[in-house]
């Protein structure tokens, strides 16, 4: 197999990296791909609880890198979604136990074993971030429509370019009502400021909170707008690169028909 390693990063914490990693990973697996999601936040693991797999952890990514177990032994199989695996972070180590050369080795192994490996990057731009982007093929930058988040995203985008990675952007937690009122940056504003390709637009959605409360995958909740947005992100990553990005601001009244309306021109966001 010749898979892709994609790092999910943001600079600022709390903007939804872990949600994006878990949801896009699950959506890709639902599309029939073999997917691994990795928690690279060594010392502060989170992805396991968000995915509801926290009780089954035996080995972690540091065990794999230090040769205490095989990659397959550390990969927890999700029982609800076929072909989805979680490789958790270690909770007791520090970020410095992983060296950049370890990541090159690990990513090569991941490419052989999976179609997609999504790396959930820790916040910040220090060692943990450097490790996560070291050997990645692609990058997803997540930001929310807030000044602080967009500024950090800009910094991270610069650092990714310096490593010859051209990232794509997911704008998370858009509140259409606030944008309409003129009290929130629109996705067009964000894209304008960052000048970067858009991969997805995700609305603020209560279902995200419910999903992380219960550990049930967001993308399996049928009426979740955020879940649907992540499904479309996964399609764009896998086989449908030109699937239009839906504008949360357009045609808000006929959201129910959203599944059927995929690709309608008037619902397409400015790229």
């Amino acid at each position: 197999m010749d898979g892709k390693v994609i790092v999910v990063t943001s600079g600022k914490g709390g903007v939804g990296k872990t949600t994006v990693t878990a949801s896009v990973g699950a959506a890709l697996a639902k599309q029939g791909k073999r997917v691994a999601v990795l928690d690279m936040d060594i010392g502060l693991r989170n992805l396991d609880v968000v995915m509801g797999l926290e009780n089954r952890i035996v080995f972690d990514v540091v065990d794999v890198i230090q040769g205490r177990c095989k990659l397959r032994q550390a990969a927890l199989k999700d029982r609800r979604i076929e072909n989805l695996y979680l490789i958790p972070a270690s909770q007791s180590d520090e970020k410095s136990v992983i060296k950049p050369q370890n990541m090159t080795w690990l990513c090569n192994k991941l490419r052989r074993e999976y179609d997609f490996a999504l790396l959930d990057c820790p916040a910040g731009i220090e060692q943990g971030f450097k490790n996560a982007i070291e050997a990645a093929d692609e990058a997803i930058v997540v930001c929310t429509p807030e000044v602080s988040s967009v500024r950090d995203a800009d910094r991270v985008i610069g650092l990714l370019y310096a490593r010859s990675i051209t990232p794509r952007l997911i704008v998370n937690r858009i509140v259409p009502k606030l944008v309409e009122k003129g009290d929130m940056l629109s996705h067009a504003d964000v894209v304008d400021v960052l000048s970067i390709d858009l991969l997805g637009l995700v609305e603020m959605d209560d279902a995200v909170v419910v999903s992380s409360n219960t550990g049930n995958p967001l993308v399996q909740q049928k009426d979740s707008r955020a879940g649907m947005a992540f499904n479309r992100v996964a399609m764009r990553l896998d086989g449908h690169p030109d699937l239009p990005v839906e504008d949360p601001m357009a045609g808000r009244s006929f959201w129910q028909k959203v599944g059927k309306k995929l690709g309608r021109k008037d619902r397409t966001a400015k790229r």
Partner: protein, 97 residues
């Protein structure tokens, strides 16, 4: 002033917080990109002194190099007293440079 902003001024309507956010962001990003590390400024000062002393006698200790920030742009400002111009032989400096 555009027609739009004129109307806005006449109506005395404050900018929406969305537009304020966008403008602040744009300025912040410009400033972020202009930020220069101190050691880089020191290296630059050394290089500049080297070049200037080919042409002028200057007081090295009185030389100052600074970055001044204005709205939306930055300027590099070099200030140095000149003690004397160096009289060089024809073509000599060019070959040296």
């Amino acid at each position: 002033m555009t027609f739009h902003s004129l109307i806005k001024k006449l109506l005395n309507k404050p900018d929406s917080s969305r537009n304020v956010a966008k403008k602040r962001l744009q300025f912040a990003l410009v400033y972020d990109k202009l930020e220069v590390r101190d050691d880089m400024l020191e290296d630059l000062q050394q290089d500049l002194v080297e070049v200037i002393t080919r042409y002028f006698e200057i007081d090295r200790d009185a030389l100052s190099l600074d970055i001044q920030r204005m709205e939306g742009s930055s300027a590099l400002i070099l200030n140095t007293p000149i003690l004397a111009a160096k009289h060089r032989k024809e073509g000599g400096a060019r070959a040296h440079a």
